[in-house]
Amino acid sequence: MSIEVRNLTHVYSEGMPHESLALDDISFRVEDGEFVGIIGHTGSGKSTLLQHLNGLLKPKSGSIIIDGTDITSPGVSMREIRCKVGLVFQYPEYQLFEETVAKDVAFGPSNLGLSQEEIDARVEEAIRLVGLDYERLKDVSPFELSGGQKRRVAIAGVIAMKPQALILDEPTAGLNPKAHADILDMVNTIHRTESNIILFVSHNMNDIARMSDRILVMDHGRLAMNGTPEEVFTREEELKQMGLALPDAMELTMRLRRKGMNIEQNCLEISALADAIAQLRG
């Protein structure tokens, strides 16, 4: 399984007075099992890009190749693509609708036309995978849960379809620090157990730096950077011009360097920076 995007261009409201170029000639490739972070200022085209990856939006030009199939060519089964690429939107808890948690999680798998036993098994597995107590919560109304729990149920609804690529659009937005950390742990657990591709959008640079194998940086509809966290976060000036911050540890490293401290490593985490400073002190 791999995802390849070639020269993708998308225009919103084409032919209207408020026409705008949302994606401008984007190309990149994601390999099997990769964890890719996507960052960019609000309105830079991140969400538009994600919606192309499972065929919810159609590009103006360019191609999107999922597992060897170009999904922009006619006659491709969208159901199959959406089974392969799972997309969790921002605030996914607003899409819950069923009477019980188990029924809501089952919505995705039953749309795939699986057998009832298979559906039940997947529902249980997905609810456990997002760190919820299956026995206790399966018959509870999703609307009675806390914000963090609702979000887990919504994510479970996508995971139950067993996508080979899971896309998460700001899964931690608007959560308290505890729920935030829990969701990140959950994403890591899913990535390890399912060994799938994960595309993760976030405004939190610390999360992005810590979790990603690779980072895509979007700016005004263009793909501005594509590299490892270290490659991306050492381009401080460019990032700041796009209105993006550095991870805290990297920011501190840069400032200490400017003050004359001779820190050689590019520290993406506070512990790494602490070690580097300790080494410097001897």
Partner: protein, 266 residues
């Protein structure tokens, strides 16, 4: 897809028509509609058509945009044409089976068709060139004389403003929910009517919940700002009658005079 609905949409612009006082525009639209029913021959319709064409030309709203507004009411227009064409009694021109077309029917159908099209275009010019807020402010101002007999003008205008304000928000919300359920493999396009109606549940339930959430947030925000309509409120942008409104008013009176004269004399 769902964002492409144009009925009642505002077309941003800076023309003379855009800048006219909303109160004048509302009155003009109402009188224009009345005039369309005063007219009873083709010369009158030609005058009404010409007047509307001039206004559209000045407003610089593209014709394509205006004609788009006709699309949703197309069926109603066709239905009206058919009813008039076949139902009016008089001198028979063509006859087949139980249907017969009369001279009077043909004339009536043509009249009704032109009337409806001009009516719809005329009122869509109002919404295309007036911001929704201007529109509701205008309605409030026009209704305020009736406050004395207990018409809650301000409350009505506020409700309309809020309703208009949240149309795009709810459309966006609907769009998002549809996409999210599609991402979970939902299928809204195939199957019989019953299946399709059932397929709407995953959209309608979250949409209702969102609508209530948004309404609650708004009520809270208004409460926090001590909103109340009881006391005499002043406005940040008070509407003032400018010179151009006087010109507009004179043109309106002239138009009405021509229509009435045409009716009486010809």
């Amino acid at each position: 897809m769902i964002r492409d609905i144009t009925l009642g949409q505002y077309y941003p612009g800076n023309s003379w028509v855009h800048k006219l006082d909303p109160r004048l525009k509302i009155i003009a639209t109402l009188l224009y509609i009345v005039a369309l029913f005063v007219v009873h021959d083709f010369i009158g319709f030609a005058i009404a058509f010409l007047a509307l064409a001039v206004v559209i030309a000045i407003s610089r709203v593209p014709l394509k945009f205006i004609l788009k507004g006709l699309k949703p009411v197309f069926i109603i227009i066709v239905f009206t044409l058919m009813v008039n064409l076949f139902m009016v009694k008089g001198d028979i021109l063509v006859q087949f089976w139980i249907f017969h077309i009369t001279r009077q029917g043909l004339r009536m159908a043509a009249f009704m068709g032109i009337r409806l099209v001009l009516l719809i275009i005329g009122s869509s010019v109002l919404t295309l060139t007036t911001r929704p807020i201007g529109l509701t402010d205008g309605i409030e101002a026009l209704l305020s004389p009736f406050k004395k007999i207990g018409v809650p003008a301000h409350e009505l205008a506020m409700m309309m403003t809020i309703a208009l304000r949240f149309i795009p928000t709810l459309l966006e919300e609907t769009d998002k929910i549809i996409k999210a359920q599609q991402a979970r493999g939902a299928d809204f396009e195939s199957g019989n009517i019953l299946r399709r109606a059932k397929a709407l549940i995953p959209i309608l339930v979250p949409l209702f919940i969102s609508a209530f959430r948004i309404a609650q947030d708004l009520a809270m925000a208004m409460e926090a700002r001590c909103y109340g309509s009881g006391i005499k409120r002043t406005r940040m942008n008070a509407m003032k009658f400018a010179k151009r409104d006087l010109v507009g008013g004179i043109l309106l009176v002239a138009f009405l005079a021509i229509i009435v004269l045409e009716r009486v004399l010809i």
